[in-house]
């Protein structure tokens, strides 16, 4: 018997998956100046996502869980594999068809970048650590999402101020880097929701 699931429940599952993949939960009173806001730790969310997926097994979404490889012991899946399968399910929730490799590549990249920026805000990475970590992702962005060229410009412009011998004032640079992370995250998430709804 197929258990009924309403649109609101599907919406909630989609959002939960987004938060998990992006490492980010928008605060209802979100403001980049609200220091009480803390970016999510994706690992703490995994159990919630696993539970939500398990609850879908008797619903109309079961065939999509099967196609995404999620009708299995979820807790036994390694992190990368779990994330990949969840991403595929998220695509099925947006459009019940096979996602193109092009779309998947864009989403993987946006999610990776979002998690890195969230981690930077959460863990307080130094500007230099962030710059180093961003290097390979910037190259991928240029190839996989050339439509985000203005974001690439913003990254290149700001990161060009960061370096071991930077003449910038360190506290100001750290503060500005933090604000830029918020801004970049906002742009990435707008793009993510434009692609997936």
């Amino acid at each position: 018997m197929v258990k009924r699931i309403d649109e609101h429940e599907e919406y909630i599952v989609s959002r939960l998956i987004d938060y998990y993949l992006l490492g980010w939960e928008p605060h209802p009173f979100f403001s980049p100046f609200d220091l009480r806001w803390v970016p999510l730790t994706p690992t703490s969310l995994r159990t919630d996502v696993e539970q939500a997926i398990t609850n879908l097994r008797q619903t109309r979404l079961a065939p999509f869980l099967e196609k995404a490889g999620l009708l299995t012991e979820l807790s036994a899946l390694p992190e990368d594999m779990f994330r990949e399968r969840i991403l595929r399910l998220r695509c099925y929730l947006a459009e019940p068809d096979e996602p193109s490799e092009e779309l998947l590549n864009k989403l993987r990249l946006i999610a990776n970048l979002s998690r890195l920026l969230s981690e930077s805000l959460r863990e307080g990475l130094s500007p230099l650590e962030l710059k180093r970590a961003l290097r390979p992702l910037r190259k991928s962005l240029a190839v996989i999402t050339p439509e985000l060229h203005t974001l690439l410009y913003s990254l290149a412009e700001h990161l060009s101020l960061i370096g071991e011998n930077s003449p910038e004032e360190l506290n100001a640079l750290e503060r500005e880097t933090r604000y830029r992370c918020w801004e970049w995250l906002g742009r990435l998430h707008a793009y993510w929701y434009a692609l997936l709804g």
Binding site: A142, L152, A156, E157, S160, L161, G163, N165, S166, P167
Partner: protein
């Protein structure tokens, strides 16, 4: 603030950033080539949000070509090439 028509040198940071772009440390000659590009194109420079002058140039060396943004900033009263960047 007047736009500098000529730069007096470069910061160590600008050299490091240029090295990142080239994949190897630039020679003084290569750094001076950037200063000459500034001199040639400074009329197109604009004030960026940090209050520094910025202009886009094409740097060519051997078989390589790079679209570079040059940023000029003042240090100890002298205009220097502050940083340089390329958008992938």
């Amino acid at each position: 603030m007047n736009r500098p028509s000529k730069l007096h040198g470069w910061t160590e940071h600008a050299r490091n950033e240029f090295a990142d772009i080239l994949g190897q440390s630039p020679s003084d000659q290569q750094m001076r080539a950037l200063l000459r590009l500034w001199q040639k194109h400074n009329q197109q420079a604009f004030l960026n949000r940090q209050g520094r002058w910025q202009v886009k140039v094409v740097y060519k060396h051997k078989q390589q070509s790079h679209n570079l943004w040059l940023v000029a900033g003042k240090q100890n009263g002298k205009w220097l090439l502050w940083t340089v960047f390329e958008v992938e």
